[in-house]
């Protein structure tokens, strides 16, 4: 009997700080991926392969594009687009598929909430995890860009925080949407949103390919802001206008995180 009651009396009422609560969830995710390290490792391959294929293979067919009045080779144009797109895809994957599985099937968050942790801790923990993972991939991708000679400015150092910002914006929105998902079939809607963003956000070709009214629409989408921000940083054409993208993505992420905490409380605590 002493064994059964001892831990209960010892830990009762102990409050965790926000940072500690976030850390516990991060540690749990780390433990899970220790067994799937090869999955973790190969995650960074996809954007690099896209860069080599589209940037260099297709690049031989395309002459290059104007960026801020200066003509750049196609690979230089595509690479920052790939960086931004992979930051989006990574964050979305981590906060939709993985979170849905934990929420509906694994019942992980029910278990978390039976400890002194809150739904905000879950939201913060998962989004931080998505950012950490995305950050590692983005850093690796930037090193590949550097090695291939596709980086032209010291501003590129800030491309890593920019990629994290894209991850934050999309991770927040992705996880918020996940709380409304009913079944795996609903994920088709996520693809329905991310694929057009991936293909039409000036990742592969400039917005000038669209008619004028459509250019406006594209310029208002979050991935376009991310792509442009990354491109400005790697080509060294940063201006005061870049702040628009930064604020946009930041607001998106904050709103997303807020919604997630509220929705998780509705789903799991009532």
């Amino acid at each position: 009997m002493a064994i059964l009651s001892a831990p209960i009396t010892r830990d009762r009422g102990r409050e965790l700080s926000r940072a500690a609560a976030t850390g516990v969830l991060l540690y749990r995710n780390y433990l899970v991926y220790r067994r799937g390290w090869i999955i973790f490792l190969t995650g960074f391959l996809e954007p690099v392969l896209y860069l080599l294929s589209i940037g260099i293979g297709v690049g031989k067919l395309v002459h290059g594009f104007d960026v801020g009045g200066r003509s750049v080779p196609y690979a230089d144009f595509v690479a920052p687009g790939m960086l931004a797109a992979s930051a989006m895809n990574g964050a979305i994957f981590d906060t939709t598929f993985n979170v849905f599985f934990k929420l509906k099937y694994q019942k992980l968050y029910d278990q978390v909430l039976s400890t002194p942790r809150t739904t905000s801790d879950v939201a913060r923990g998962e989004i931080t995890w998505a950012l950490l993972r995305g950050g590692i991939y983005s850093a690796a991708f930037l090193l590949v860009m550097l090695a291939l000679g596709l980086v032209h400015s010291w501003w590129a150092v800030l491309a890593l925080p920019a990629a994290l910002l894209i991850g934050f914006g999309f991770g927040g929105i992705g996880m918020a949407l996940t709380t409304w998902m009913r079944s795996w079939q609903d994920f088709e809607f996520i693809t329905l949103g991310t694929l057009p963003l991936f293909l039409f956000s000036a990742t592969f070709f400039p917005v000038s390919a669209f008619p004028e009214w459509l250019q406006w629409v594209v310029q208002c989408t979050p991935l376009y802001r991310g792509v442009v921000l990354c491109r400005e940083l790697t080509t060294g054409q940063v201006g005061i206008g870049s702040m628009v993208s930064v604020v946009y993505l930041l607001v998106l992420g904050v709103i997303g995180t807020r919604i997630v905490s509220r929705r998780l409380s509705v789903l799991l605590l009532t």
């Binding site: 190969t42 589209i54 260099i56 329905l192």
Partner: protein, 266 residues
């Protein structure tokens, strides 16, 4: 084996038709997006919009008059590979590990080979459907040389798809942990899609990589599809490509039956 008490007919796999039909009636909605909208978006983005920036090459890439004509057959072949792989990865794992449908099927007079044939048959049927839809949607873009060529294109997709579905079925039937699929997607499907001549001529690759790309099964399919679409087929290369894919499919079916037998019977 369970079937020994009955007289086995070579067409026993047909008895599973109602199972697959019922399943598809419930899940087809999801496949509409992946098999119809995704390729259309890719064609518009890469073929039409990016293609608008491709400057007319003096030597036309593999007989195509425009980048759109060049890229569409490549995308169709790549999509057929992806649909085929999709049909035999998680569905196989579900039927073996999570829902255990295969075990209940094996408890009937059906033989293992029937289960494999029915599953692969369904995959081929889905391939036919997506290929026909894709071809019909893109025909107005003027990417097919003739009606007969377009029919050939569809038939090639069935063989190409089977050449991927069968060996990967064998892999899936032997696999215990679904993490193995992530490796198939990342280390096989994506590199093949990107470097098998679908988006750019293989001659744009450095020589050693070009040599590797030329033996990849997707390149065989891309090349066949492109020949039929553009009307540039010649008997020699066509026969080689076809033989390659037929052998791959046949070996795959044999391996699949073996792997599934081990999993279900022993």
């Amino acid at each position: 084996m369970s079937a020994t008490t009955d007289r086995p007919s070579p067409f026993q796999a047909w008895r599973l038709a109602d199972y697959w039909f019922t399943l598809y009636r419930r899940t087809w909605r999801g496949s509409v997006v992946t098999s119809f909208l995704n390729p259309l978006l890719y064609v518009v983005a890469m073929g039409v919009l990016l293609g608008g920036f491709v400057h007319a090459d003096p030597q036309r890439p593999e007989g195509a008059h425009s980048y759109l004509q060049f890229v569409v057959p490549g995308m169709l072949a790549a999509q057929s590979m992806q649909v085929a792989i999709g049909e035999v990865t998680f569905p196989v794992m579900t039927m073996l590990k999570w829902h255990k449908t295969y075990f209940s099927m094996a408890a009937t007079p059906l033989r293992v080979v029937d289960l494999v044939v029915a599953h692969l048959g369904f995959a081929v049927l889905r391939l036919a459907l997506t290929a026909v839809v894709f071809t019909l949607v893109l025909a107005p873009f003027g990417v097919f040389h003739s009606v007969l060529g377009a029919c050939g294109v569809v038939l090639v997709q069935l063989l190409l798809g089977l050449a991927f579905a069968a060996p990967i079925y064998a892999y899936a039937a032997a696999l215990r942990n679904e993490m193995g699929f992530t490796l198939i997607f990342r280390l096989l499907m994506i590199p093949l899609t990107l470097f098998s001549g679908a988006f750019f001529p293989l001659s744009n690759l450095p020589a050693p990589l070009e040599a590797i790309a030329r033996v990849s099964p997707l390149w065989q399919g891309v090349s066949l599809t492109r020949m039929f679409a553009l009307g540039t087929s010649e008997p020699g290369p066509v026969a080689t490509h076809l033989a390659y894919l037929v052998v791959l499919a046949a070996v795959g079916v044999w391996l699949s039956v073996r792997a599934l037998t081990r999993r279900l019977i022993f």
